[in-house]
Structures are given as structure tokens and as C-alpha cells.
Assembly symmetry: C2
Homo-oligomer: 271 residues x 2
Amino acid sequence: MKRSDRLVSLMNYFLENPNEHISLPYFSDKYDAAKSSISEDLSIVDRVMKEEDVGRLQTIPGASGGVSFIPEFSREKGNRFIDGLCHTLEDPSRILPGGYLYMSDILGDPKMVNQIGRVLASAFSGLKIDVVMTVATKGIPLAYATAAVLNVPVVIVRRDPKVTEGSSVSINYVSGSSRKIQTMVLPKRSLNDHANVCIIDDFMKAGGTINGMISLLGEFNANLKAIGVLAEADDEEDERVVEHYTSLVKITNVDIKQNTIEVHHGNFSWN
Amino acid sequence: MKRSDRLVSLMNYFLENPNEHISLPYFSDKYDAAKSSISEDLSIVDRVMKEEDVGRLQTIPGASGGVSFIPEFSREKGNRFIDGLCHTLEDPSRILPGGYLYMSDILGDPKMVNQIGRVLASAFSGLKIDVVMTVATKGIPLAYATAAVLNVPVVIVRRDPKVTEGSSVSINYVSGSSRKIQTMVLPKRSLNDHANVCIIDDFMKAGGTINGMISLLGEFNANLKAIGVLAEADDEEDERVVEHYTSLVKITNVDIKQNTIEVHHGNFSWN
């Protein structure tokens, strides 16, 4: 295969397999090319990835060496993306009763969801996460988008057990804002002992739901490694029951009477 | 930018933007290259896409012309993928009470889900679909994977209205197998008049849930263009209330006593 063809094929391979270790001999075999040619190809791909702000190739030298595609956002591109999110969300027609915000259009756009997933994943890429956990329903697309980049599976916590998931573990938790006792269930088969878990959700007010998921992790002897949310509601900060988390945007000063709202960058920071 | 760099960048661009029309001058500007060079680049990309079985570039000639990346599976690759699915699902330890099948591991694997979405999307790519619809919870990842390829948004029907979605339209429907009356809701803002809709779900028994979604489409003056499911249960065929649909696999002869199950190719066919 010629270099030009290899470059197209390599780019396809890396984008399909982010955060996966691939040995150089694999590519030598696949393309019937010398290791030195493959190395040159990889440096071209790496350079363009950086220029286009999609990530970088991480090369591990030595006998068990190889290469991984690490999807990444530059600080500049990421900040621009979050600016855009803030601007979109600041539309007063999004305000719903109870200080909630209509976000279903954003969460229904696969391209937008994949971008959000990439930003969240870039915050957690060094944490050796085994699985992404979310709760039905709205967090699901963000959880998949994040998990696809981290190259790990997703488990979905439900509020009602389903016959199609086999036996399950359930817990009761106190909802942060309404103080109601609620139930959460997770199928027994879905989480291994000592799994390193990243919790993803769309919206956090006081954090009761996320706290429920943390309790559930205890039942499975799993480890909480990170929490990521698209939006947090600032107004509930005093009552917050969750401490360490990453948010892309922070919603403040929702005024239903004046029909105004402010949306700022969340606590997400670039490494 | 040199050809080698352009090829890497172009492949990234197309994979990020499937089924989107892009004018050639856009690329000429982006890469500061002659149209003739871009045309040669595109023919290299097209050739490798076909060789690697990821799809093809569709070129529209003329003044308003341009190029679109059409993701596609060859019949051979698609059949191999469905064979693998059948084999994975035929494991008797997946059998659950009521003739259901444990599939959460497959539906929890983002790579697998994206592949399923690509196969389903390839069946519907000529239908001018505006939006993919699914019902919470298990169909959601498949709906997003399909919608990402079709380059359209997703709307999620729920069984309970949620405060964070604004006013909504609800209908009652009869569940196919249990004959129970159930409710389905969709936020008013989520679907435009006369939208062309593709319904995606993970599992179809008699089809009552899908039939419910079809009734809901009527309330929004939307058009049903296609129905796609990962798996259908063959045993319920006599009671089926849905006629035209595409399934990847068909589950038959689930025998809880003997602990056996058969999984075959569904009615999916390659164009």
C-alpha cells in the first residue's frame, strides 16, 4: 500500500479506536510496510491531529511498544466550545418551572453530544477508568459519548427494575432537592468488583441522584474515580451533597419573574 | 498544506461529518489548494474507504456540486457482523424469565452500539429521514448511533413526563404482549410538523411499544419512514401489530426448560 493510502487508512483506524494500544508490527503486517515507513506515517498523522486539534498519538517505545490515539481538545478550542454552550443555554425561553432548563435539543443532537463527551473524556483520560455509569434517561447519550472516547463500557442505573436485565441490586436514597426517598437499581451482572467508575449526568442540582449512584457503587465494591456533568445549578450550592465533580457550565440567577438567566463556564479546567 | 497532510485531515473531516454535503471550494479554501488537487485527494480517499469497507464518497458535479461521505457496509462485512451478533446472543445464560434475553452487555459497549447503528443507518440512508425516535431506555444508545450516521437529531419518548422537558403530548396505547394500557409522552417542542421519522428500538416482541410511537407520530403530523430494531422475537409473530420493519437478528425457539435458544439473521437485507 502506498503512503497516501496508508495515511487515510491509519486515520480511519485511530478515530475508530481511541485510547487503544496498538503495536507497530500490527500496522507493518496490515500494510505490508517497513517499520520505518510506518513510523514516518505516524509522525505525519500525529502532526495533522495536533494542527486540527483532534488529539495526538502517544508512542510507547521498546519491545512491547506501540501507539495510542489520545483524543484531546486544546484549551482554546475547548473554551470556545463551552462559550458556545453558555450562549445557547442563556436563551430565556429555555427556563422551565422549578428552575430547570430545557436542554433536550442540545442533548438530542448527536454531534453536540459527541463534542461534550470528548471534552468530559479529556478531563478523565488519565484516571484508568473501567466503566462509565449514568442514570436513565437524559444522561445516557452523554455517558455513551464519553465512554466511546475512553474506550470503556457504559452501565445504566434505572429507577425501576426491568424484566430484561435479570436480577438486580437496589438502594434507596434521598433526593437532594425534594427530600423524597427514591429507589435506584442496577443489574447484578453489570459491574465487576473493584471497577473504577466515572459517573456522568446531564444536570446536577443538589446532587442527590449522583449521591445515590455513589451509594450503589458501594454495594458493588466499585471505586468512584470521577464525576462529570454537563450543567450544574449554582443556586443549590449550599445544599450540595456531592463534593468533587467536573461541570462544563454553571447555571446561575434563574429568575422566572424577570425571565432572565445566566450561564457561565463550570469548574472544568484544562490540564 | 501537502497532500499527505490533506489526506489525513480530509479523512478526519469526512468521518466527523457523515451524510453532509460539502462544496469543493470549501476544501480548496481550507487547504489553499487547487480544485484539481482536491479532486485527486478525494479519489484517493474514496478508494481507501471502499477498500477498508467504511463507505464511499458521493460526488455531485456542477456549480452547486460537492461531495458527501456515505458510510456503508459491504454485504460481506455486514453479514459477518450479524453472524457475530447471532453467535454472541445464542448463549443460553442470556435467557431471562418471559422469553427475554440479557443484552445489556452488548448495548453497553459503545463500539458494538456504533456498529449496529451503522448497519441500521445503511438500510435507511436513501429515505430523507429528518429525525430518529426511540423510547426510553434501552433503545437510546442505538438511536444515537443510527442518528449520528444519518446526521439527524434524536427525540426520546418517555413513559413518564419529566419536569425538565416543558409541556408535552401524551397518548395511551395497548402493550402488545401484556395487553395493558400504558402511557407515552413526547415534549411538544421536540418534533416539527411533517417531520420524516425513523423509529429505532432494541427489541420487538408483538410490537405494541412501537405501535404506540406510531400513534404518537400522528399527534405531531409526522411521517413514519422506517422502523429498525436490533432483535425481534419470532415467537410472537402471530400477534405482531407492526408490519414493515427492519431487524438485524431474530430470536426463535427460546426454551427455558431445555435452556436453549436459537438466533438467526433478521429480515435486514443489503441494497
